[in-house]
């Protein structure tokens, strides 16, 4: 063993982290899976990227990835944004794994701010990058106290925030990082995903892991676990709704990004999940502003 390390001293270990670190992170992950929604502290390492750029998610991915895995990385739903490209490149280099942008082909999906529109299956693991894992943080700044509140399941103050929303805005105005109760026990921050994605966490067949690098916490939602968004009886949880379909692929019932087109108020709404949108367009779906195949030269002999 020592020989192998000695001869390749200058090279990185598979998936960047050394084996002992990966074992420690895996133990934290196993504990997190055993206690759904509970934040397990772990010895977060320095990674070759700034904290806040997904170091928690990267460490979780590094601990669970194997040579046969196919990795997809999404940032705000897109595969081609800086964070996604950089992390995909990182694992290509340090683990030499196959990467993909297609949700159905991936075995591990590391994500920031979105859950893919395509339903996940039992062979997939979704790894979330988490900036602030503590859902009680804004009501109770003391870490010692929040731990006590979790231990006692003392979550009344969570509803104070929701009450304030309704009192001032007439509805629950929290639109992302919307707190959930996991398995009827722990209140959990689902990371800053839009509340549109909250229902996808419930009874999901895929394993969901959450890594917070700066805050040094890992938590998990095991497959087919009950995840309920907090609400009031007379103001039930409601995900965002969009009045128009995607301008490129015509999809409805998906999360849309607003794109400003000009300085005269022109705008379009497009799928935030680029893979889903591309897949639909390839299957022949066209939205209002999708390029015309005749104008762009395709199908010219019609």
């Amino acid at each position: 063993m020592s020989e192998a390390i000695a001869t390749e001293r200058t090279a990185y270990n598979f998936a960047y982290l050394d084996e002992q670190t990966k074992r420690a992170i895996r133990r934290a992950i196993l504990k997190a899976i055993a206690i759904p929604g509970y934040q397990v502290p772990f010895a977060s390492r320095e990674m070759p990227m700034p904290r806040g750029w997904g170091t928690g998610g990267v460490q979780v991915t590094a601990a669970i990835i194997g040579p046969d895995d196919v990795l997809k990385v999404i940032d705000q739903g897109a595969d081609d944004t800086t964070n996604a490209v950089a992390i995909r490149g990182f694992f290509t280099r340090v683990a030499n794994v196959a990467t993909t942008t297609r949700t159905v082909e991936a075995t591990i999906i590391q994500t920031r701010h979105r859950v893919p529109e395509t339903p996940l299956n039992a062979d997939q693991i979704l790894v979330y990058q988490v900036p602030i894992p503590e859902p009680l943080r804004f009501l109770e700044p003391r870490e010692t106290e929040t731990r006590k509140l979790h231990a006692l399941a003392d979550y009344g103050t969570m509803h104070v925030k929701l009450y304030e929303d309704i009192a001032h805005f007439g509805e629950i105005a929290t639109t992302y990082a919307y707190p959930v109760t996991v398995d009827g026990r722990y209140v959990m921050d689902p990371s800053p995903i839009p509340k549109f994605d909250n229902p996808k966490l419930d009874d999901c067949p895929a394993l969901q892991l959450f890594g917070a690098g700066r805050e040094k916490r890992i938590y998990a939602v095991p497959p087919h676990t009950r995840v309920v968004s907090l609400d009031f009886e007379d103001h039930p949880f409601a995900p965002q709704r969009f009045t128009e379909p995607c301008a490129l692929c015509g999809a409805t019932g998906v999360f849309l990004d607003e794109v400003i087109l000009d300085d005269r108020g022109g705008r379009m709404f497009v799928c935030s999940d680029t893979d889903f949108c591309n897949g639909r367009q390839a299957a022949g779906h066209r939205g209002r502003l999708a390029g015309n195949p005749i104008e762009s030269g395709e199908g010219a002999d019609v």
Partner: protein, 258 residues
């Protein structure tokens, strides 16, 4: 009204290291009874209040409390969830500074509703209704329900703090100088309000004050403390009109006579 005492303190003693907080304080409190603890600054009044309300752990002695189910429990032996439930349902704590007792960042309605949400209320309309009702009872205008306590005057904040504590219909309320820092006319209105609420709801109150007028107005019984010890106790009018201990005589005679 009720034969069984609500709260029994036995030999309560607190040392802060070598320094004495209070020594060997014993008394019983019945439901609906108002007990004033008076004495100068540093006499151990607030320490005693901390010991009774389980915020401080006694160096010696016990506090027993008659729970809602009728059982008499030693407060030191309550589990943490039981203790928290007691604090936010059956007890109230009105602090001298409303900023310490209120959640200043959220609206008045949320302040009053917080205890209800903590004990499991999940119907917004009901919570808001209860909050509005209680704001009315402490004479805060209904249209201030969504305002932050930061925009309230000192007297309003103190009334809001009282509403926040009474919303779960507690049986025992601790008050630490509730009228401190308020001007005289506001004090008078607040005392009037506290007195009528206490009478209407049959609250038991332990009120700590250095103001003998407050004690005379509100309390049935009085305990005078000096240097951590109780030096005199009895019915309020009896103690104030016919003080026996030299220090009590000094205290009573030092009040400006009008």
């Amino acid at each position: 009204m009720c034969e069984e005492p609500l709260l029994i303190a036995e030999g309560l003693t607190k040392f802060y290291g070598a320094r004495l907080g209070c020594r060997d304080v014993s008394f019983t409190l019945h439901a609906g009874e108002v007990l004033a603890v008076v004495g100068e600054s540093g006499s151990g009044k607030s320490t005693l209040l901390g010991l009774l309300s389980t915020e401080l752990a006694p160096s010696a002695g016990h506090v027993r409390y008659s729970m809602r189910d009728g059982s008499l429990r030693d407060l030191a032996e309550l589990s943490e969830p039981e203790r928290r439930l007691l604090l936010r349902t059956d007890w109230g704590f009105v602090r001298q500074s409303p900023e310490a007792g209120l959640r200043m960042a959220v609206s008045a309605g949320a302040n009053v509703g917080e205890r209800l949400m903590a004990v499991g209320w999940r119907h917004y309309g009901n919570i808001r209704g209860a909050a509005a009702d209680w704001l009315g009872r402490v004479e805060i205008a209904a249209d201030r329900i969504d305002d932050s306590p930061k925009s309230f005057s000192g007297g309003m904040r103190q009334r809001l703090q009282i509403a926040r504590n009474l919303v779960t219909a507690p049986r025992l309320v601790f008050m630490d100088e509730p009228t401190g820092g308020l001007d005289v006319s506001v004090q008078a209105r607040l005392l009037d309000l506290i007195r009528s609420l206490v009478a209407d709801l049959g609250l038991a109150v332990v009120i700590v004050t250095h103001d003998l007028a407050v004690a005379r107005l509100l309390s049935h019984r009085i305990m005078v403390m000096k240097e951590g010890c109780v030096i005199e106790e009895g019915l309020t009018d009896q103690v104030l009109d016919d003080p026996q201990a030299a220090y009590t005589q000094l205290l009573v005679s030092s009040v400006l006579q009008s």
